[in-house]
């Protein structure tokens, strides 16, 4: 529980809280990027070096920009005047508070949590590579397929359909 | 093949880059304040007044005829004539300008004053570094700043200076010839008058001779 760990924890939680509560959407996306880099810092402190860097590359580098592009494409960069919360927002907050208290209670006084912290495991890139190629080779191939399918699907969905406009009346 | 043209282009710029260190005539830049580019023969910036001899006060050719003042399109010349006269290069007494100002912030270097001046007394200078911090007084050149010697004029515009000197020499020759003619006429008239007087004295010593010297010829 070094001070640095506490600071990154607080930064992460603040980033996430702002990401969910700010009015202007682009500010939310930037706060989310801060939250993700906070989480990456937490991974580095848990000696998961490869995952920490991958987190920065995937989330802060790619998904944050993706979300920001989507915000601009749907022209919602400006803060809306009317309220940003859905009608039944009270219930949502209550349920999530209950979820947090229940989880917190379970974590705080469960007996199965080991008291002493084991030595830092060595997760070098070579070990990760060997594990990926030996034990997890099937999931690796499946993830490759899933990613390709997702990429092609996303392109097809977001493509402008001006090629075959079957109902010229309602031109999108 | 892709990239062939790129390599050719890079070779050209490389030749330029290393050439500029090796051969000096590639770099044509003139480092201005230290080196000056030689000026062309007929450069003209602002007018100046020519004077002969070494004392600019007396040798000034300008006779304050104010033709240039009238002809100047932007009206940047201001002349005040003098009351008395002083002899000019032909020894003929002429007026001279008490005040001769040119406002070079107004002058547009059109050289009309040079063309209309009958006395070859105003020419165009080539000096262009005239910036001053005093915008009004600094750019109003008075007579003393305008006057420059004929030798300076020879140095600035050798060819024009030669022509203008030829004109002046011609003028002087004509003036001397006329003066000589007048002098001869005078001597001949004196001689005749003496002869007549002698004759008259011989014939009628009582008729008093009335020698009337003919008035000198009118000079232009």
């Amino acid at each position: 529980m070094s001070p640095f760990f506490v600071i990154t924890g607080i930064v992460t939680l603040l980033g996430a809280a702002f990401a969910m509560s700010l009015r202007n959407l682009v500010h939310c996306a930037l706060a989310m990027a801060v939250a993700f880099s906070g989480i990456a810092a937490l991974y580095l402190q848990l000696d998961a070096q490869f995952v920490g860097f991958a987190e920065i590359l995937v989330y802060v580098g790619a998904i944050a920009i993706l979300i920001v592009f989507a915000i601009l494409l749907t022209r919602s960069g400006e803060a809306p005047e009317k309220s940003v919360l859905t009608s039944g927002w009270m219930a949502g907050i209550a349920v999530s508070a209950m979820v947090f208290t229940m989880l917190g209670w379970a974590v705080l006084n469960s007996s199965a949590i080991p008291k002493e912290t084991p030595p830092a495991p060595v997760a070098t890139v070579k070990n990760v590579g060997d594990a990926l190629m030996t034990k997890f080779v099937l999931p690796l191939e499946i993830i490759g397929l899933v990613l390709t399918a997702a990429m092609i699907g996303a392109v097809i969905i977001a493509l402008k359909e001006e090629s075959k406009n079957e109902n010229p009346g309602r031109k999108s | 093949m892709l990239g062939e043209q790129i390599i050719k282009g890079m070779a050209v710029t490389a030749k330029n880059f290393f050439g500029s260190y090796v051969s000096k005539e590639r770099l044509t830049t003139v480092q201005y304040p230290e080196e000056h580019l030689a000026q062309k023969e007929n450069t003209r910036q602002f007018p100046f007044l020519v004077y002969d001899g070494d004392d600019w006060e007396k040798g000034l050719r300008c006779v304050a005829c104010q033709i240039c003042e009238k002809e100047c399109p932007p009206k940047c010349i201001y002349i005040v004539k003098s009351k008395d006269k002083k002899p000019d290069y032909k020894g003929q007494p002429q007026l001279y300008p008490l005040i001769f100002d040119i406002d070079i912030s107004v002058c547009m270097s059109c050289q009309i004053c040079v063309e209309v001046c009958p006395f070859e007394s105003i020419k165009m200078d080539t000096k262009f570094e005239l910036s001053t911090d005093d915008r009004f007084g600094g750019l109003l050149l008075t007579k003393d700043k305008l006057a420059k010697s004929n030798s300076y004029y020879q140095k600035m515009h050798p060819q024009d200076a030669a022509e203008s000197d030829a004109v002046i020499a011609g003028e002087k020759a004509k003036a001397e010839a006329k003066a000589k003619a007048v002098a001869e006429a005078k001597t001949r008239a004196d001689a005749e008058a003496k002869a007549k007087a002698a004759a008259a004295a011989a014939t009628a010593p009582i008729a008093t001779p009335a020698p009337t010297t003919p008035p000198p010829a009118k000079l232009i």
Partner: protein
């Protein structure tokens, strides 16, 4: 003696750190390393700005700046003091923030731009055991941090509430994203052959000599193509000509930093150049043997001198390219990235695989070179076949 000179910085660091009590040692050594990087690379940046103007001048047959040497003295130093007045000028210029701008994001953009770029210097090996933090996944750290620069480009573009800077930012991000893939794929080939993401490991792999020539990756067929792809992609990543579309004068004014002036603009300028040095440093480490000397009888020259001379050599080539090539249009730029560089990078990975598994003698060279040359020719023709450059005919008015 030369070995001591080679390790001079390391010994000085340990000597300084020895004064500090045990607990503070890591913090102080980190501070000293940061001070070293902040002293060296902004200095190289200052020299490069002058160098750029002088080389561009000489390419166009004119002198570059040759008046300002040491300020307040007559010494000219043929113009190499020019960065001092430039620096003062850019720092003292008024910092105008548009009224409609989003103040916080507008202010944060240059900071978020500079932070990842400086972080990227943590993993670069400047000399023999002169790496600040020798991560096991150093290369991944470099690319992860390099990717974060796009967030700052977007922040700058969006927060100035100006159509042109937003469009410029979108173009810059599109360019950076589409050139990041060939960049990473060409680095993947090196990782495949060396077998580790650790940059010091990669340099050590290139540090042995046969017949006096070093085993640099660039001397192998896949290495040459990899370095070419890496070089072109790093030109695009650092927004340099011919890929400087987002911030070109003739295009959308100054792209995403139109609304920046004074100190913030100087930060963007510094960030751009530091990013360029970082990515060139990585290129040197991956393909040009990091701090190793090209020939075996010159190994007595200190290692960091080799790193710096290679850095300046490639910076010279960057400036040389800036003086030569015209700017690419947006569609040509995208076309080139997706239709030429990406396929070539994938084929390069295939060739690196073949290189790895074939026996180490001449058929290996033959096969790999043949595949790469064939791929280059086919892709090149594919790219060039719709450009019919007929001989230009001149028609003069009669």
């Amino acid at each position: 003696m030369f070995d001591k000179l080679d390790q001079i910085f390391v010994t000085v660091l340990h000597w300084l750190v020895s004064f500090v009590p045990e607990g503070l040692r890591p913090v102080v050594s980190a501070m000293l390393c940061i001070a070293f990087v902040m002293a060296v690379f902004p200095g190289v940046f200052a020299i490069t700005t002058v160098l750029e103007r002088k080389i561009l001048g000489r390419i166009q047959n004119r002198y570059g700046p040759n008046r300002v040497g040491i300020p307040f003295t007559k010494i000219r130093l043929c113009g190499f003091g020019q960065f001092i007045p430039d620096g003062i000028k850019s720092l003292t210029k008024e910092d105008i923030v548009p009224r409609a701008a989003d103040k916080v994001v507008h202010f944060l953009a240059p900071v978020v731009m500079l932070m990842p770029v400086l972080l990227a210097y943590a993993v670069l090996p400047f000399g023999r055991n002169m790496t600040i933090t020798d991560y096991d996944a150093g290369l991944l750290f470099f690319f992860a941090v390099g990717g974060a620069v796009e967030v700052s480009v977007f922040m700058a573009g969006w927060s100035s509430r100006n159509k042109y800077s937003l469009l410029g930012a979108m173009r810059a991000i599109a360019q950076m994203v589409s050139y990041e893939i060939p960049l990473i794929l060409s680095a993947v080939t090196v990782v495949m052959v060396v077998g580790s993401l650790n940059l010091s490991e990669i340099v050590k792999h290139q540090n042995n000599y046969t017949f006096g020539i070093a085993h640099w990756h660039v001397f192998t067929p896949w290495g040459l193509v990899g370095f070419a792809l890496f070089f072109i992609a790093s030109l695009a990543e650092s927004n340099r000509t011919p890929f400087d579309l987002p911030e070109a004068e003739s295009e959308i004014i100054a792209g995403y930093f139109t609304e920046y002036s004074g100190f913030k603009f100087a930060l963007f300028f510094l960030g751009e150049y530091l990013g360029m040095f970082a990515i060139i440093g990585l290129g040197i480490t991956l393909f040009l043997g990091g701090w190793t000397s090209p020939v075996s009888f010159l190994t007595w020259i200190p290692s960091y001198v080799w790193f710096l001379s290679k850095l300046m050599a490639i910076v010279f080539v960057f400036i040389w390219i800036r003086g030569t090539l015209p700017r690419l249009r947006m569609d040509q730029l995208m076309n080139f990235a997706w239709k030429f560089m990406l396929p070539l990078a994938l084929i390069n990975i295939l060739v690196a695989g073949i290189w790895h598994y074939m026996a180490a003698d001449w058929p290996r060279w033959l096969v790999c070179s043949a595949i790469i040359f064939g791929a280059y020719a086919i892709l090149g023709r594919g790219l060039m076949q719709n450009q019919n450059f007929s001989k230009r005919i001149y028609r003069y008015a009669e």
